[in-house]
Symmetry: C6
Subunit: 251 residues, 6 copies
């Protein structure tokens, strides 16, 4: 017997125009979503928009863990979309955890930064504490490969992801993890082949060549508790951030 | 000389509309069936439907071992299909064994949960005991890769599967194992290349792109004691669960 | 100068309608033939038919070593083709060696079963003794991968196959070995890349998609002492077992 | 709300005609850009032009670390484009660090050369010192694979790149790193699969066969803080160096 | 200035009708030729014909080292082509060295057989002695992979082939080595990637599908001191052995 | 500002008709050029022609290091092109260093031959001494894989090539190195993936199938200090050696 799905599951809007229409209004609350794609597909922008619009439009506190770019680079970069992270950071609504400076042995000018020597347990504990301290509803870890590079051996990422899974379940946040998708068309949708097992949702960002131009599209490969289509939707990175065209032909 | 097959082999209906028509009424009793597919192909839904409809329509006690999602996530998720696992759990007809909480070191609120530290022999013993305690006719293990991730080394999965095979033979249940099929078109139908050797049936769930949309189809690759076609059948995940279209063109 | 081939080589009919026409009446006596194919291509049925029809039509004693399925599953399964193994087992014409129960540590109810702990030399010795005891003319080992899984390391299969080759040469039986062919179109016709070196004949069973249906075909890739075509022949698994269509178009 | 991007980010013109039009006037200051391509795609020319035009047209001091060719070969080679490195070297505007002679155990006639035995920390320190000594605004390391070959084990390149990332962040230069792109069409855009993680921009140089001729094209795969198209642009290596055709059809 | 090639190089006719026309009358004397192909492409027949016709038509003593099949199987098999090896063996013109029986630990009934335990140096020494004893002009080793399987580790084949190369150079015979070509179309023309380096000629035997039938063709990929075409020539295995059609279309 | 390239760089004509037109008259002096191709593509002929025509037409002393074929085989083979190496060897204009005999443990009849046991440093020293002794302007090493096979572990070739690079830089010769190109179309243009990094020029020799015939073509993939096209040019191996058709369509 069909039921009223909306009432069943609380939704966390992604803040990405057009995208929430595809997933019954937003991610299921408390879900970990993998955003996978190649270089330059827009993963970091997707993740930053999720945090920023969360704070701006839904009053959701959010934590952005950046392991590829310095916090200040992220801040500067998203300004081009007109997003002022600093403002919400000052209000305690957004925290950016700088995972770059420390990991390369540099002193961080950031308030929130990982400690000197990268250590998995410390890392997870620190993220946990920060999330709790602002009662965050949203979390981003950008990216899984950058996390893996910091380990003594890349394949330890398996163990780290299982541990990460634990604290994600415990914290009750809705999380976006970014990772590399080496060959989405051939079914390889994550770099380490395990990321999708700790995620209840998988969103693929990909590029397809049409007339000597690479076009962006997005595919919801999995989203638990959500009726979603399996179509590829075109999207663009506009001056307002990512916009998905749910009714659009793929170029 | 042809014989009356129906009388030869007892059948265990899958509970999936349209599917049982393809396999002479159901799985051969006592058979282990591998349900293989990529991310988001519907493996968990297939497995949950097998257990739920078994209890609801055929009065078969069933055990669902969940290693990817917490028991409560499974329960919540299938509610969107109108399936009330809780009701049958209270009646002792369905047991969900929570293999997630413990394996990540969290206390489980579940009545049936794996112990603290993952240990293969304990795991198999525990499943065996629970199956016997409710005299289960149906068993699901979701999923093989999630089981493998819990091992010290993934390739130990070979040994685990051989042991699992033993207790499956002994318990007399009809079992659905889910696993990943990295590239079904190229003949790689299981992640570890051994799962299909302990299964007497193999069902592939796959996605094919047609007009920028991924379409779902199902293929019975092997089913011992069963005359089945080798066609690809379209299926959908509706608000009532999976429905297969045995007479349907593939979109 | 051409010679009368028929008189040169004794033939062992496969018992598969249509197939023997393709190989001058049957396998060359004393030959080891590899039957290779993917999951669900009919390898076990081919092998069982070779043993059963051998006993039924040609009065040849035969031994079937089953490493994937229990003896009783094999018996039950082939009943759907109207084949009554039990009858010939009682007459001492067919022996099924149960290699499953023991290898998983279960007591076997079978008269012929491998010992507790899998050991290559014991295995080979046991097969040798059973073959001699009924003076078997035909032997099946189903399958090579299942044999490999029982070894401490899969790659020991190389050594095992070389040893197996020895006793096959000594026993004087005509043998069918089944193995997996990962990608026959690309020339990879055996899982371990060595099986074809101990076999004097190689028969490929494959599936090809035509109009959303997988069609079965068979190709004799190698058959020493035999003039055979290199065409792909369609075959079906009917209620009487495998039937090959030597004059048939491939669907 | 859109903002005036030009005022937000300072731009460092590449000095490559046509190319700067594609990236809002130049690389974002302080950015590390990966120039990836196969053998003979023009990576070294791209990098040398970036340094030379920087000195000539924008008065930017620049450092070129050459690990594939000797300094004198670079100097001689670019003369064919009419570029006189020596002149700017004498003025202290350009430094070429010779990383070839020393690494092969030869005495270098160069003023700036790496020490006898290749050592990662010494290498990074030396580059740092030279950059600081001329207050360089531009840096080239040509190439990552040549760096990797000098390590005891190639896979140590991961650690080296993370360390390199640190000093690049600290030095405040705009950097071009060259690397090999084994199969850009299939998404493998760097030899070690990590180079793109320390770069905020990725430019692919590739060759495509059209009418038995390989044509050159360029694709900006990623450029942080920059609105860029995803088209493939044709380019040529003319007697003045690289010229990109932003309005051009791809041949 | 062109020279009279025929007078320059002595030729060793292959004994394969049509083939010698393609290589200026025969293999250059003293050359090692690799015959590479997949299972069932006719490598062993090619090699046996080279030895047999050599004895029959050119009075050349020849040695055939068989590592895949027993000497008696070879003898029996070629009888179907009307070739009577026994006759020439009795005359001391042909020797078959049985490398199968001993290597599997069986006593050989053969006059020429390898010793009990496979040992590379003994093997090479034995072949050398036999070649010298009958003053053989032709030698076959069938096959390289079978030789490799006898080694403790397959990759020792590299060292063995280099040693083999030595004695081949010293013995002054014209040699045919057979090996597996996993994917000739993709340029992988030998199993171990080294066989072609010790051979001065490479002949590929391949199968191509045309209208559901595999057709045989032959390609001379390399032949030192020989002007040869790079066409693919059809060939057949007739009741007289291999026949190549130099003027033939490929089916 | 364009410059007169001819006056800038001294050219070393290859001696291959048609080819020098493609590279502004010849290789840049002092350059190492990699000639890469599969089996039978003409690499050795290319290299021998470079040495022979160098001596004959340009009075350049040359050294040919042969690691695949014995010196006498090379001599005999090129005679079919009318090239008399012996004559120039007697005049001290050409030296062939025999790297085969010694490496296989045979005494060499050659004046110039490597010592008994292959040793990298001795090898490089020996080549260096011979080059200096005749004041060679041209050097060939045929081939890199044959060099690698002589090492205890093939992957040591990386270190050897870096050392080789050193002495090539020091000796001031123009060098042709031959190597295997496993899949030039897919961008894999050298067997070990490092050869192209020590070469300032890369010439690919390849075969393409047209109408059941393999056609030869040549592509200059890289040539420092040289304006060259990226077209594929047809070439043939005629009775005078290699001839390239710069104006020719590719068949």
């Amino acid at each position: 017997m069909p039921v009223d799905r909306k009432s069943l599951f609380k939704r966390v809007p992604s803040g990405i125009p057009g995208f929430d229409d595809l997933i019954e209004g937003g991610f299921p609350e408390n879900t970990t979503v993998l955003v996978a794609g190649g270089t330059g597909t827009g993963k970091t922008t997707f993740a930053a928009q999720f945090i920023y619009r969360g704070a701006e439009l839904y009053d959701d506190p959010g934590v952005f863990v950046t392991l590829e770019e310095r916090a200040k680079d992220i801040r500067r970069e998203v300004k081009s979309f007109g997003w002022d992270f600093k403002k919400y950071e000052d209000e305690g609504k957004i925290v950016i955890i700088d995972g770059v400076s420390s990991s390369v042995g540099l002193p961080s000018e950031e308030k929130f930064a990982l400690e000197d020597k990268f250590n998995v347990d410390n890392f997870l504990r620190y993220v946990y504490r920060v999330v709790k301290s602002i009662n965050a509803k949203r979390l981003v870890i950008d990216s899984i490969p950058s996390l893996a590079f910091r380990l003594a051996e890349e394949r330890q990422i398996r163990e780290v992801l299982l541990k990460l899974n634990t604290i994600l379940l415990e914290m009750g946040v809705t999380t976006v993890l970014t990772t590399e998708a080496p060959a989405p068309q051939e079914g390889r949708i994550s770099r380490y082949g395990i990321e999708e097992y700790i995620a209840r949702g998988v969103v693929l960002l990909d590029l397809q060549e049409r007339n000597i131009e690479l076009k962006r599209y997005l595919l919801i490969r999995k989203m638990r508790e959500t009726k979603h289509s399996m179509r590829k939707y075109p999207f663009e990175i506009t001056s307002d951030g990512i916009v998905v065209y749910p009714s659009g032909e793929i170029y």
